[in-house]
Symmetry: C2
Subunit: 535 residues, 2 copies
């Protein structure tokens, strides 16, 4: 790359201007990260745990929660020489990183108990389920624990979109996403090209740029070069596929939908110039289930590092240390003490636990809300979406209330059965469905999915559903910060209160992602360690 080429541009920032801007915004550390960014486009302050040299000076840290934030804290602190005790309310580690497979149990706050009855080898990730390639913190531990990963198909043009609230002939019909992409972009490019070729954009584009713009539009919209019209494209699919010989020979391309029909269907909602940052290709998933990551941590920790079934009742601190009172598996009251505390309990739950902390700190916990989140895995006796519809993974975007996204598995290609995600829904509609019994939730999911796949009901075997807002250890899927909360409450909770450090996805801008939990933990143990070194 040429050192001077960027500076020569009027529109693109010069290197110098870019650094000046960075310095103004975030000081030297951001500017340093920016230097990386200039090279290749991305940079991250946190792709690896903090270096913690200098020893632990005999410090003991109590950690509440064995989710990703707690596990990360425990693993790195032990490595740095600390004495660590983790208290976990559940009978297993991983927090929300749960995989439901045969025998997995769950009882929600309404008393609905489920035991997973999937076949051996079948599973659904009822918590986090995908890892974007830029979540290098999560991938750091994937590598550290040699967790095999496979590609997660997060964007499949062959998958359906289904919008029943749209209008016109395409509403309420499963349509391939690629057909909507081809037609919406094709017709738009045609309109644009015709405007541009008439010279109507001369104020915006120089004549030379206009010619290049037209070339781009022809390429992007797959327009006819001669008359700049969109007449369809092989990319939207075939009514008769091309093949051998003279029949089917070249096949028969599918004709485009009418532009007005595409617009009225509102199926274009699934289109975007580029996917949102956290939904981008490439995406990974651990082979065998997301809980392979927490299992990697647990294997790497000393056998007695985590005390399970420990229900925290009170968090205490004074100038010299911290103390936590909890009830153990047998119902016995126990106290543990340490020099510092890292608390990864979700704020939704933590705010109901008595804690010695300053009033602003306690009050800040009310600055966030937690989302209602539903998921359901449906075991199907055949992989009809692959066999009949040729959809290999990816999502079926739709506007069916309470369904949100239907998602097809990115694993087990060509095997007999599969577990698909029957709904992934948030908010009020999710809360409504979660009030049903597990059997009725499955009934609902199957009936709705049937609108899209005629083979749905006849293939359904067994379901496992999860409602995170009905999980007493979480009371919601993830933290949702409003602008005001981010401004006032969030910075308060990011700093320690006395000897108590909070960590978790809720203290990051990657809420709902494992990377948020890990990077928050890295940040807090880094601060704690610096304090120990200075003490």
């Amino acid at each position: 790359m040429s050192e001077s080429s960027e500076a020569a541009s009027g529109g693109v920032w010069t290197r110098r201007r870019f650094f000046e801007q960075l310095m103004a915004v975030g000081g030297v550390s951001l500017a340093m990260a920016g230097m990386d960014a200039l090279g290749f486009g991305f940079a991250s302050a946190q792709t690896a745990p903090p270096s913690m040299p200098g020893g632990a000076k005999g410090t003991k840290v109590v950690i509440l929660g064995a989710g990703l934030a707690g596990l990360t804290s425990a693993y790195e602190l032990i490595k740095a020489g600390y004495s660590v005790q983790v208290l976990e309310a559940r009978g297993f580690a991983g927090g929300r990183a749960q995989t439901a497979r045969k025998g997995f149990e769950d009882t929600d706050l309404m008393g609905h108990r489920q035991v997973c009855e999937f076949d051996e080898g079948q599973y659904i990730n009822i918590g986090p389920w995908r890892i974007p390639y830029h979540h290098q913190s999560t991938l750091h531990y994937v590598k550290e624990f040699k967790v095999p990963v496979e590609l997660f198909n997060n964007d499949n043009d062959a998958s359906y979109v289904y919008f029943e609230k749209g209008k016109g002939p395409l509403a309420g019909k499963p349509i391939r996403k690629g057909q909507i992409a081809a037609d919406a972009r094709g017709y738009t490019a045609e309109l644009m090209a015709k405007v541009a070729s008439k010279g109507d954009l001369d104020a915006a584009l120089s004549p030379a740029d206009r010619e290049t713009f037209l070339a781009y539009l022809v390429n992007e919209g797959r327009l006819s070069r001669s008359d700049l019209s969109y007449k369809g494209t092989d990319g939207r699919g075939f009514d008769i596929l091309p093949g051998a010989g003279v029949d089917p020979g070249p096949g028969k391309e599918s004709p485009p939908f009418a532009f007005a029909d595409v617009l009225n269907s509102r199926a274009w909602r699934v289109l975007s110039s580029v996917a949102g940052w956290d939904q981008q290709r490439t995406m990974f998933e651990p082979v065998g289930g997301m809980d392979m990551i927490p299992k990697g941590f647990v294997k790497a920790l000393p056998p007695d590092a985590i005390t399970y079934n420990a229900s925290v009742e009170r968090i205490m601190q004074n100038a010299k240390g911290v103390k936590v009172a909890y009830t153990d598996a047998a119902g016995k009251k126990v106290e543990v003490s340490g020099d510092y505390l890292i608390c990864t309990i979700p704020l939704s739950v933590l705010k109901n636990i008595q804690m010695d902390a300053s009033k602003p700190f306690i009050e800040a916990m009310n600055g966030v809300s937690y989302s209602a989140v539903n998921k359901i895995g449906l075991q199907m006796k055949t992989r009809f979406w692959e066999e009949k519809h040729w959809i290999y993974g990816g999502h079926v975007y739709n506007d069916i209330p309470g369904i949100g996204t239907i998602s097809l598995p990115s694993t087990g290609w060509h095997s007999q059965k599969g577990v698909l995600l029957g709904y992934y829904a948030f908010g009020g509609e999710a809360a409504k469905i979660s009030a049903l019994s597990p059997a009725d939730r499955a009934k609902f999911a199957v009936a709705q999915g049937q609108k899209i796949f005629p083979e749905y009901a006849e293939n359904f075997e067994t379901a496992f559903s999860k409602s995170w807002h009905l999980d007493g250890f979480n009371l919601g899927g993830w933290a949702e910060w409003g602008d005001e909360g981010r401004k006032t409450a969030y910075p308060v909770l990011c700093e320690p209160d006395g000897r108590i450090y909070l960590a978790g996805e809720h203290l990051s801008y990657l809420t709902g992602w494992q990377a948020g939990a890990i990077e928050s933990a890295w940040q807090q143990i880094g601060k704690l360690h610096a304090r120990v070194q200075q003490a």
Copy 2:
């Protein structure tokens, strides 16, 4: 799906009109396939081998070539009861479906002999390397032989585009594809939205459609709702990634490139409303190498079905049968005879072999050309494209002469080493590079790749290159038909000449794909079997 909804549309064909059209074009069989298509968008005449009931009536078929077409023919004919003998010129089966791994040997027509020195477990598919999800014929055998497959990352927004022949500050710089997509589409949507909001499209769109169109443009281009401007989007990446706490906190989105710079870079050539049909997501590859598919065939065939190292010298036929003269591994002249012949030898090679066939048949072989195709695998001692650049698979599109596509492996995530595809180039530039010695080809590939990845040269260990036009058994990568050839020569070669049937990718509209070879074989053995039944 509603039966009547499509008929209600003015712009979309009614079912009836659609069928009428199909009947006119292709008769009942196409109309039948079209009925499938109307349900879900795609249909194929050939997703499974022809049913061949009725027995083989003691018929013996000689098959020339143990590539995908020959293997398919042999496997299905044996299943249907035929006696089969396959003659293969190479010492192994698979034809072009070759995987270079440690010890693999290749000597080209210029006398350049290579022995692959990749580490154990490393490989490159020097022939076909990917299977689109709609190549159900290829996937049929993947399933039949239980060949494990994994996703092939054929479209990676995080990968670079590199166009050194463009103009302006972005030319000759690696740029993330997603940034070009966001900016080109974003600015275009802005221009379009501003035109539309001024009412300039009233001839093309009704007022209601215009409002919906604006909503689409805002969504697609990620425009500001208030002033319809494109100011960048998180989807194009960050200069400072979002993370935990308040620093980096929300991070810092990267600013968009200037529109004129994007246009002048010509990097938008990689953008298309939807990928071309044969390049679409989802794409697969066999775990461990493409030759796992031919190996599956060979394992399923009787041990003596294939005679290797058989160099065909003459193909004879008369009214009663066929006879093939070949030279065996020891240089001895041998003749085999049978009732029918299926010849899968590429036309580029076949036209130099003496064959008893009609003059029009022989002449038709001149109606096709074969492309020069180069590939090179470069073993790198670290996976720097993943570790330093966060590019996990996908292609680096570029305009470097002789390089074509650079492609990063979709397998071995997080392992130590990797083999990337250093060039995949066609035509004259490929021919020029293939004239170099293997060592000089590698030198060229490494020097060019270095323009994009600064870690290229220091990581390079060993290479294996293939030039298909310099392979005496192929004389080119695949058949390339012009319009005239398709019209006149192609139909002649699709029909048998006497007792000789040709098969292979060259007799399909899927040239260069394994699916073309398989479907061509299916078609020809289907015809042959029908003839045997009628005889």
